[in-house]
Protein backbone atom coordinates (compact mmCIF):
# COMPACT_ATOMS: atom_id res chain seq x y z
CA UNK A 1 0.00 0.00 0.00
CA UNK A 2 1.63 3.24 -1.07
CA UNK A 3 2.23 5.89 1.52
CA UNK A 4 0.38 9.16 1.17
CA UNK A 5 2.91 11.79 0.08
CA UNK A 6 3.21 15.32 1.41
CA UNK A 7 5.89 18.00 1.47
CA UNK A 8 5.99 17.73 5.25
CA UNK A 9 4.67 15.55 8.03
CA UNK A 10 4.08 17.18 11.40
CA UNK A 11 3.77 14.70 14.26
CA UNK A 12 1.65 16.16 17.04
CA UNK A 13 -1.46 18.29 16.59
CA UNK A 14 -1.03 20.53 19.64
CA UNK A 15 -0.10 24.19 19.62
CA UNK A 16 3.50 23.56 18.58
CA UNK A 17 2.62 21.18 15.77
CA UNK A 18 -0.40 23.14 14.59
CA UNK A 19 1.52 26.46 14.53
CA UNK A 20 4.29 24.92 12.49
CA UNK A 21 1.92 23.08 10.18
CA UNK A 22 -0.15 26.20 9.51
CA UNK A 23 3.06 28.16 8.94
CA UNK A 24 4.30 25.56 6.44
CA UNK A 25 1.06 25.85 4.50
CA UNK A 26 1.58 29.59 4.25
CA UNK A 27 4.94 28.85 2.63
CA UNK A 28 3.17 26.85 -0.02
CA UNK A 29 4.04 23.40 1.28
CA UNK A 30 1.56 20.58 1.58
CA UNK A 31 1.42 19.00 5.01
CA UNK A 32 -0.17 16.27 7.05
CA UNK A 33 -0.75 16.91 10.76
CA UNK A 34 -0.75 13.60 12.64
CA UNK A 35 -2.59 13.77 15.95
CA UNK A 36 -3.70 11.37 18.68
CA UNK A 37 -7.33 10.71 19.62
CA UNK A 38 -9.77 12.39 21.97
CA UNK A 39 -7.91 11.46 25.13
CA UNK A 40 -4.19 12.26 25.18
CA UNK A 41 -1.80 14.33 27.29
CA UNK A 42 -2.36 17.45 25.23
CA UNK A 43 -0.53 20.26 26.99
CA UNK A 44 -2.36 22.41 24.44
CA UNK A 45 -5.63 21.88 26.28
CA UNK A 46 -4.09 22.43 29.70
CA UNK A 47 -2.15 25.67 29.90
CA UNK A 48 -2.51 29.10 31.42
CA UNK A 49 -2.79 30.87 28.07
CA UNK A 50 -0.20 33.50 28.90
CA UNK A 51 1.85 35.21 26.21
CA UNK A 52 4.60 35.79 28.71
CA UNK A 53 7.96 37.49 28.44
CA UNK A 54 8.88 38.71 31.92
CA UNK A 55 11.77 36.79 33.40
CA UNK A 56 12.21 34.41 30.47
CA UNK A 57 15.69 33.56 29.35
CA UNK A 58 17.65 34.24 32.54
CA UNK A 59 21.12 33.03 31.58
CA UNK A 60 20.14 32.46 27.97
CA UNK A 61 19.64 35.73 26.07
CA UNK A 62 18.78 33.84 22.88
CA UNK A 63 15.62 32.59 24.60
CA UNK A 64 14.72 36.10 25.72
CA UNK A 65 15.13 37.33 22.15
CA UNK A 66 13.09 34.44 20.71
CA UNK A 67 10.32 35.08 23.25
CA UNK A 68 10.26 38.82 22.62
CA UNK A 69 10.19 38.23 18.89
CA UNK A 70 7.17 35.99 19.27
CA UNK A 71 5.36 38.43 21.56
CA UNK A 72 5.95 41.30 19.15
CA UNK A 73 4.63 39.29 16.20
CA UNK A 74 1.64 37.85 18.03
CA UNK A 75 -0.72 40.62 16.85
CA UNK A 76 0.14 39.67 13.29
CA UNK A 77 -0.64 36.01 13.99
CA UNK A 78 -3.93 37.00 15.59
CA UNK A 79 -4.92 39.07 12.55
CA UNK A 80 -3.93 36.41 10.05
CA UNK A 81 -5.84 33.71 11.90
CA UNK A 82 -8.89 35.93 12.22
CA UNK A 83 -8.81 36.68 8.50
CA UNK A 84 -8.24 33.01 7.65
CA UNK A 85 -10.84 31.45 9.93
CA UNK A 86 -13.07 34.13 11.44
CA UNK A 87 -11.95 32.97 14.87
CA UNK A 88 -10.87 35.73 17.25
CA UNK A 89 -8.12 34.58 19.58
CA UNK A 90 -8.70 37.59 21.87
CA UNK A 91 -5.04 38.55 22.29
CA UNK A 92 -4.43 41.21 24.91
CA UNK A 93 -0.97 42.57 25.63
CA UNK A 94 -1.33 45.11 28.42
CA UNK A 95 1.86 43.94 30.13
CA UNK A 96 2.08 41.52 33.01
CA UNK A 97 2.59 41.50 36.74
CA UNK A 98 4.57 39.13 38.93
CA UNK A 99 3.22 39.49 42.48
CA UNK A 100 5.61 39.41 45.47
CA UNK A 101 4.64 38.56 49.03
CA UNK A 102 7.90 39.34 50.81
CA UNK A 103 10.89 41.67 50.64
CA UNK A 104 13.06 38.66 49.85
CA UNK A 105 10.90 37.85 46.84
CA UNK A 106 11.12 41.45 45.65
CA UNK A 107 14.87 41.44 45.95
CA UNK A 108 15.18 38.23 43.96
CA UNK A 109 12.87 39.61 41.32
CA UNK A 110 14.76 42.88 41.01
CA UNK A 111 18.05 41.01 40.68
CA UNK A 112 16.59 38.78 37.95
CA UNK A 113 15.19 41.65 35.93
CA UNK A 114 18.41 43.64 36.26
CA UNK A 115 20.30 40.64 34.87
CA UNK A 116 17.84 40.53 31.97
CA UNK A 117 18.38 44.22 31.32
CA UNK A 118 22.14 43.82 31.40
CA UNK A 119 21.99 40.89 29.00
CA UNK A 120 19.66 42.64 26.59
CA UNK A 121 22.26 44.96 25.15
CA UNK A 122 20.75 47.73 23.09
CA UNK A 123 17.42 45.86 22.74
CA UNK A 124 16.72 47.23 26.18
CA UNK A 125 14.53 45.56 28.80
CA UNK A 126 11.84 47.73 30.23
CA UNK A 127 10.68 46.79 33.73
CA UNK A 128 9.63 48.48 36.95
CA UNK A 129 8.61 47.69 40.50
CA UNK A 130 5.03 48.71 41.29
CA UNK A 131 3.85 49.27 44.86
CA UNK A 132 1.26 51.08 46.96
CA UNK A 133 -1.44 53.14 45.32
CA UNK A 134 -0.15 52.52 41.80
CA UNK A 135 -0.33 48.76 42.40
CA UNK A 136 -3.92 49.01 43.69
CA UNK A 137 -4.80 51.11 40.72
CA UNK A 138 -3.36 48.67 38.17
CA UNK A 139 -4.69 45.58 39.97
CA UNK A 140 -8.11 46.33 41.50
CA UNK A 141 -8.65 44.65 44.83
CA UNK A 142 -5.08 43.40 45.15
CA UNK A 143 -4.65 42.00 48.66
CA UNK A 144 -2.64 43.56 51.51
CA UNK A 145 -0.26 40.58 51.55
CA UNK A 146 1.02 41.60 48.12
CA UNK A 147 3.74 44.09 48.97
CA UNK A 148 4.79 44.78 45.42
CA UNK A 149 4.86 43.46 41.88
CA UNK A 150 7.22 43.66 38.95
CA UNK A 151 5.76 44.86 35.69
CA UNK A 152 6.98 44.50 32.13
CA UNK A 153 5.02 45.88 29.18
CA UNK A 154 5.67 42.92 26.88
CA UNK A 155 3.32 40.37 28.44
CA UNK A 156 -0.22 39.41 27.70
CA UNK A 157 -2.67 36.58 27.36
CA UNK A 158 -4.89 34.98 24.77
CA UNK A 159 -7.67 32.44 24.43
CA UNK A 160 -5.48 29.40 23.89
CA UNK A 161 -8.34 27.04 23.09
CA UNK A 162 -9.51 29.38 20.36
CA UNK A 163 -5.91 29.54 19.18
CA UNK A 164 -5.80 25.77 18.78
CA UNK A 165 -9.20 25.78 17.11
CA UNK A 166 -8.14 28.56 14.72
CA UNK A 167 -4.86 26.85 13.83
CA UNK A 168 -6.66 23.58 13.11
CA UNK A 169 -9.39 25.27 11.11
CA UNK A 170 -6.89 27.43 9.21
CA UNK A 171 -4.77 24.38 8.49
CA UNK A 172 -7.67 22.31 7.21
CA UNK A 173 -9.26 25.05 5.15
CA UNK A 174 -5.82 25.82 3.69
CA UNK A 175 -5.71 22.30 2.30
CA UNK A 176 -3.80 20.60 5.12
CA UNK A 177 -4.62 17.02 6.04
CA UNK A 178 -5.48 16.71 9.74
CA UNK A 179 -5.45 13.11 10.90
CA UNK A 180 -6.61 12.10 14.38
CA UNK A 181 -5.88 8.66 15.85
CA UNK A 182 -2.65 8.73 13.81
CA UNK A 183 -0.23 7.70 16.52
CA UNK A 184 3.19 6.89 15.03
CA UNK A 185 4.06 3.22 15.42
CA UNK A 186 7.30 3.08 13.43
CA UNK A 187 9.33 5.08 10.93
CA UNK A 188 12.00 4.71 8.24
CA UNK A 189 14.35 7.66 8.06
CA UNK A 190 16.95 8.64 5.48
CA UNK A 191 18.17 12.10 4.44
CA UNK A 192 15.14 14.01 3.04
CA UNK A 193 13.23 10.74 2.77
CA UNK A 194 10.90 9.63 5.53
CA UNK A 195 8.13 7.06 5.76
CA UNK A 196 6.06 7.09 8.90
CA UNK A 197 3.68 4.27 9.92
CA UNK A 198 0.65 5.22 11.99
CA UNK A 199 -2.54 3.64 13.24
CA UNK A 200 -4.32 5.07 10.19
CA UNK A 201 -1.77 4.21 7.52
CA UNK A 202 1.59 5.26 6.08
CA UNK A 203 2.81 8.72 5.19
CA UNK A 204 5.90 9.83 3.31
CA UNK A 205 7.61 13.18 2.95
CA UNK A 206 11.03 14.75 2.55
CA UNK A 207 10.47 16.65 5.82
CA UNK A 208 9.28 15.50 9.23
CA UNK A 209 8.68 17.77 12.20
CA UNK A 210 8.44 16.13 15.62
CA UNK A 211 6.09 18.24 17.72
CA UNK A 212 4.60 15.53 19.89
CA UNK A 213 5.43 17.08 23.24
CA UNK A 214 6.31 14.33 25.72
CA UNK A 215 5.99 11.84 22.89
CA UNK A 216 9.07 13.34 21.23
CA UNK A 217 11.26 11.58 23.73
CA UNK A 218 10.64 8.20 22.14
CA UNK A 219 10.19 9.42 18.57
CA UNK A 220 13.34 11.54 18.29
CA UNK A 221 15.90 8.69 18.20
CA UNK A 222 14.11 7.18 15.17
CA UNK A 223 15.26 10.25 13.25
CA UNK A 224 18.74 10.67 14.68
CA UNK A 225 17.52 13.31 17.10
CA UNK A 226 17.26 13.65 20.85
CA UNK A 227 14.47 15.19 22.90
CA UNK A 228 15.22 14.74 26.59
CA UNK A 229 11.99 16.20 27.95
CA UNK A 230 10.22 15.36 31.17
CA UNK A 231 6.71 16.01 32.43
CA UNK A 232 5.95 18.55 35.11
CA UNK A 233 2.44 18.64 36.50
CA UNK A 234 0.48 21.81 36.95
CA UNK A 235 -2.99 22.10 38.46
CA UNK A 236 -5.39 24.88 37.59
CA UNK A 237 -8.72 26.03 39.04
CA UNK A 238 -11.26 27.87 36.91
CA UNK A 239 -14.05 29.97 38.36
CA UNK A 240 -17.53 30.84 37.12
CA UNK A 241 -17.92 33.81 34.81
CA UNK A 242 -17.68 37.17 36.55
CA UNK A 243 -17.90 40.80 35.45
CA UNK A 244 -14.50 42.02 34.29
CA UNK A 245 -12.24 43.16 37.09
CA UNK A 246 -8.64 42.33 36.21
CA UNK A 247 -7.16 44.35 33.36
CA UNK A 248 -3.72 42.70 33.56
CA UNK A 249 -2.63 39.08 33.73
CA UNK A 250 -0.44 37.92 36.59
CA UNK A 251 1.57 34.72 36.61
CA UNK A 252 -0.88 32.86 38.85
CA UNK A 253 -4.18 34.67 38.36
CA UNK A 254 -5.73 35.89 35.13
CA UNK A 255 -9.23 36.74 33.99
CA UNK A 256 -10.26 35.34 30.59
CA UNK A 257 -12.28 36.97 27.85
CA UNK A 258 -15.38 35.03 28.97
CA UNK A 259 -15.00 36.43 32.46
CA UNK A 260 -13.81 33.25 34.17
CA UNK A 261 -10.81 33.60 36.44
CA UNK A 262 -7.98 31.06 36.12
CA UNK A 263 -5.89 30.26 39.20
CA UNK A 264 -2.73 28.29 39.00
CA UNK A 265 0.98 27.81 38.88
CA UNK A 266 1.61 24.67 40.88
CA UNK A 267 4.59 22.55 39.88
CA UNK A 268 5.02 18.92 40.77
CA UNK A 269 7.35 16.24 39.51
CA UNK A 270 5.08 13.19 39.52
CA UNK A 271 5.91 11.57 36.22
CA UNK A 272 2.90 11.00 34.03
CA UNK A 273 0.48 11.06 36.95
CA UNK A 274 -2.44 13.37 36.27
CA UNK A 275 -4.27 13.05 39.57
CA UNK A 276 -5.48 16.16 41.32
CA UNK A 277 -4.73 16.70 44.97
CA UNK A 278 -6.92 18.72 47.34
CA UNK A 279 -3.79 19.95 49.14
CA UNK A 280 -2.31 21.51 46.02
CA UNK A 281 -5.70 22.84 45.00
CA UNK A 282 -6.14 24.38 48.45
CA UNK A 283 -2.69 25.96 48.23
CA UNK A 284 -3.56 27.52 44.88
CA UNK A 285 -6.82 28.76 46.38
CA UNK A 286 -5.07 30.29 49.39
CA UNK A 287 -2.48 32.03 47.27
CA UNK A 288 -5.25 33.37 45.02
CA UNK A 289 -7.18 34.77 47.96
CA UNK A 290 -3.97 36.30 49.34
CA UNK A 291 -3.40 37.91 45.95
CA UNK A 292 -6.98 39.14 45.48
CA UNK A 293 -9.33 38.69 48.45
CA UNK A 294 -12.38 39.22 46.23
CA UNK A 295 -11.62 35.92 44.55
CA UNK A 296 -12.70 34.08 47.71
CA UNK A 297 -16.42 34.28 46.98
CA UNK A 298 -16.15 32.95 43.42
CA UNK A 299 -17.33 29.42 42.70
CA UNK A 300 -14.77 27.04 41.23
CA UNK A 301 -16.63 25.44 38.37
CA UNK A 302 -13.87 23.16 37.16
CA UNK A 303 -10.28 22.23 37.75
CA UNK A 304 -7.76 20.11 35.95
CA UNK A 305 -4.18 19.03 35.85
CA UNK A 306 -1.87 18.90 32.87
CA UNK A 307 1.74 18.06 32.11
CA UNK A 308 4.20 20.72 31.04
CA UNK A 309 6.87 19.53 28.63
CA UNK A 310 10.12 20.49 30.33
CA UNK A 311 13.70 20.21 29.20
CA UNK A 312 16.38 20.09 31.86
CA UNK A 313 17.09 23.84 31.62
CA UNK A 314 13.55 24.89 30.74
CA UNK A 315 14.54 26.21 27.32
CA UNK A 316 13.21 24.89 24.00
CA UNK A 317 14.77 22.18 21.89
CA UNK A 318 15.04 22.98 18.19
CA UNK A 319 17.28 20.91 15.99
CA UNK A 320 17.61 19.45 12.54
CA UNK A 321 18.90 15.90 12.40
CA UNK A 322 22.48 15.61 11.19
CA UNK A 323 22.18 11.98 10.13
CA UNK A 324 18.75 12.50 8.55
CA UNK A 325 18.51 16.12 7.43
CA UNK A 326 14.93 17.09 6.78
CA UNK A 327 13.88 15.79 10.21
CA UNK A 328 13.34 18.45 12.87
CA UNK A 329 12.44 18.37 16.53
CA UNK A 330 10.55 21.15 18.30
CA UNK A 331 9.86 21.08 22.03
CA UNK A 332 9.03 23.85 24.48
CA UNK A 333 6.83 24.51 27.50
CA UNK A 334 5.48 27.79 26.13
CA UNK A 335 3.54 26.77 23.08
CA UNK A 336 1.15 29.68 23.50
CA UNK A 337 3.79 32.42 23.83
CA UNK A 338 5.89 30.97 21.03
CA UNK A 339 3.01 30.29 18.62
CA UNK A 340 3.88 33.35 16.53
CA UNK A 341 7.59 32.51 16.40
CA UNK A 342 6.75 28.93 15.48
CA UNK A 343 4.27 29.85 12.75
CA UNK A 344 6.07 32.86 11.28
CA UNK A 345 9.76 32.07 11.81
CA UNK A 346 10.39 28.43 12.64
CA UNK A 347 8.06 27.09 9.94
CA UNK A 348 9.81 29.12 7.18
CA UNK A 349 13.19 27.87 8.45
CA UNK A 350 11.92 24.30 8.23
CA UNK A 351 10.53 24.92 4.76
CA UNK A 352 13.90 26.31 3.66
CA UNK A 353 15.67 23.32 5.19
CA UNK A 354 17.85 25.21 7.64
CA UNK A 355 17.45 26.55 11.16
CA UNK A 356 18.63 30.12 11.65
CA UNK A 357 21.79 30.51 13.77
CA UNK A 358 19.70 32.34 16.38
CA UNK A 359 18.31 28.91 17.34
CA UNK A 360 21.74 27.28 17.64
CA UNK A 361 21.72 27.45 21.47
CA UNK A 362 18.65 25.18 21.49
CA UNK A 363 20.07 21.96 20.12
CA UNK A 364 19.84 18.93 22.35
CA UNK A 365 23.61 18.63 22.27
CA UNK A 366 23.78 21.22 25.03
CA UNK A 367 22.60 18.60 27.50
CA UNK A 368 25.62 16.41 26.72
CA UNK A 369 28.19 19.04 27.53
CA UNK A 370 29.92 18.02 30.73
CA UNK A 371 29.99 20.59 33.52
CA UNK A 372 32.81 23.06 33.03
CA UNK A 373 35.91 21.94 34.79
Amino acid sequence: MTARAHDALVVGGGLVGASIAWGLLRRGLSAALLDEGDVAFRASRGNFALVWVQGKGDGQPAYTRWTRLSASEWPGLRDMLAADTGIETELQQPGGMHLCFSEAEIELRIALLERMRAASGNHGYDWRLVTGAELRDMLPGVGPKVIGATYTPYDGHVNSLKLLHALHRGFVSGGGAYLPYARVTSARAAPHDFVVETQVGSFSAPRVVLAAGLGNRDLAPLFGLSAPVLPNKGQVLVTERTRHVLPLPTVCVRQTGEGTVMLGDSKEDKGLDLSQSPDVMAAIARRSVDSFPWIGELNIVRAWSALRVMSADGFPIYEQSRTCPGAFVANCHSGVTLAAAHALHLAPMIAAGELDPMLAPFTAGRFDVPAAA
Binding site: P140, G141, E240, R241, T242, R243, V245, G259, F292, P293, W294, G296, E297, L298, N299
Partner: protein, 100 residues
Protein backbone atom coordinates in the same frame (compact mmCIF):
# COMPACT_ATOMS: atom_id res chain seq x y z
CA UNK B 1 -46.15 28.97 36.60
CA UNK B 2 -46.63 26.92 39.79
CA UNK B 3 -49.09 27.25 42.65
CA UNK B 4 -49.43 25.83 46.14
CA UNK B 5 -51.79 22.91 46.63
CA UNK B 6 -54.73 23.89 48.83
CA UNK B 7 -53.62 21.28 51.40
CA UNK B 8 -50.16 22.80 51.69
CA UNK B 9 -49.08 24.07 55.10
CA UNK B 10 -47.10 27.08 53.91
CA UNK B 11 -45.55 28.58 56.99
CA UNK B 12 -42.19 29.99 55.89
CA UNK B 13 -42.17 33.54 54.57
CA UNK B 14 -39.53 34.47 52.02
CA UNK B 15 -39.10 37.32 49.56
CA UNK B 16 -38.70 36.68 45.83
CA UNK B 17 -38.06 39.69 43.56
CA UNK B 18 -39.27 41.90 46.37
CA UNK B 19 -42.55 39.97 46.67
CA UNK B 20 -43.48 38.09 49.85
CA UNK B 21 -44.16 34.39 49.28
CA UNK B 22 -45.26 31.69 51.73
CA UNK B 23 -43.81 28.22 51.24
CA UNK B 24 -43.87 24.99 53.24
CA UNK B 25 -41.01 24.02 55.52
CA UNK B 26 -38.59 21.85 53.51
CA UNK B 27 -39.31 23.53 50.21
CA UNK B 28 -36.31 24.82 48.26
CA UNK B 29 -35.66 28.41 47.24
CA UNK B 30 -36.26 27.23 43.65
CA UNK B 31 -39.83 26.26 44.55
CA UNK B 32 -40.38 29.79 45.87
CA UNK B 33 -39.01 31.18 42.58
CA UNK B 34 -41.40 29.02 40.59
CA UNK B 35 -44.33 30.28 42.64
CA UNK B 36 -43.44 33.79 41.49
CA UNK B 37 -42.86 32.71 37.91
CA UNK B 38 -40.98 34.22 34.94
CA UNK B 39 -40.02 37.36 36.89
CA UNK B 40 -37.66 35.22 38.95
CA UNK B 41 -35.86 33.85 35.91
CA UNK B 42 -32.11 34.34 35.79
CA UNK B 43 -30.27 35.84 32.81
CA UNK B 44 -27.36 33.69 31.66
CA UNK B 45 -23.84 35.05 31.80
CA UNK B 46 -23.27 33.84 28.24
CA UNK B 47 -26.10 35.55 26.34
CA UNK B 48 -28.60 36.99 28.79
CA UNK B 49 -31.12 34.28 27.89
CA UNK B 50 -33.77 33.72 30.55
CA UNK B 51 -33.76 30.49 32.52
CA UNK B 52 -35.83 28.92 35.29
CA UNK B 53 -35.11 25.63 37.09
CA UNK B 54 -35.11 22.56 34.84
CA UNK B 55 -34.15 19.47 36.86
CA UNK B 56 -34.75 20.45 40.52
CA UNK B 57 -32.12 17.94 41.60
CA UNK B 58 -28.85 19.86 41.46
CA UNK B 59 -27.65 18.70 38.07
CA UNK B 60 -28.60 21.43 35.58
CA UNK B 61 -27.53 24.63 37.42
CA UNK B 62 -30.30 26.61 35.71
CA UNK B 63 -31.78 27.56 39.10
CA UNK B 64 -28.86 29.85 40.01
CA UNK B 65 -30.11 32.81 42.04
CA UNK B 66 -28.85 35.41 44.47
CA UNK B 67 -29.89 34.18 47.92
CA UNK B 68 -29.42 36.40 50.98
CA UNK B 69 -26.96 38.52 49.03
CA UNK B 70 -24.81 35.61 47.83
CA UNK B 71 -24.70 35.28 44.05
CA UNK B 72 -24.96 32.11 41.97
CA UNK B 73 -26.39 29.73 44.54
CA UNK B 74 -28.19 26.63 43.34
CA UNK B 75 -31.69 27.52 44.54
CA UNK B 76 -32.96 23.93 44.30
CA UNK B 77 -30.38 22.84 46.88
CA UNK B 78 -31.15 25.60 49.41
CA UNK B 79 -34.01 24.91 51.84
CA UNK B 80 -36.09 28.01 52.60
CA UNK B 81 -35.60 29.84 55.86
CA UNK B 82 -37.81 32.50 57.43
CA UNK B 83 -36.84 35.90 56.01
CA UNK B 84 -34.77 34.54 53.11
CA UNK B 85 -34.30 37.05 50.29
CA UNK B 86 -34.17 35.56 46.80
CA UNK B 87 -33.30 37.70 43.78
CA UNK B 88 -32.79 36.67 40.15
CA UNK B 89 -29.20 36.21 39.02
CA UNK B 90 -28.78 38.77 36.27
CA UNK B 91 -25.82 37.64 34.17
CA UNK B 92 -22.34 37.14 35.52
CA UNK B 93 -21.60 37.80 39.16
CA UNK B 94 -20.77 41.39 40.02
CA UNK B 95 -17.56 41.92 41.91
CA UNK B 96 -16.66 44.84 44.12
CA UNK B 97 -12.88 44.42 44.34
CA UNK B 98 -12.49 46.72 47.32
CA UNK B 99 -15.28 45.22 49.42
CA UNK B 100 -13.60 41.95 50.33
Amino acid sequence: MFRLRPEARATVRVTVCGEAVLVPEGASAAAAMLLVGPGAARETAVSGARRLPYCMMGVCFDCLAEIDGVANRQACMVPVREGMVIAPQRGARKIDPEAA
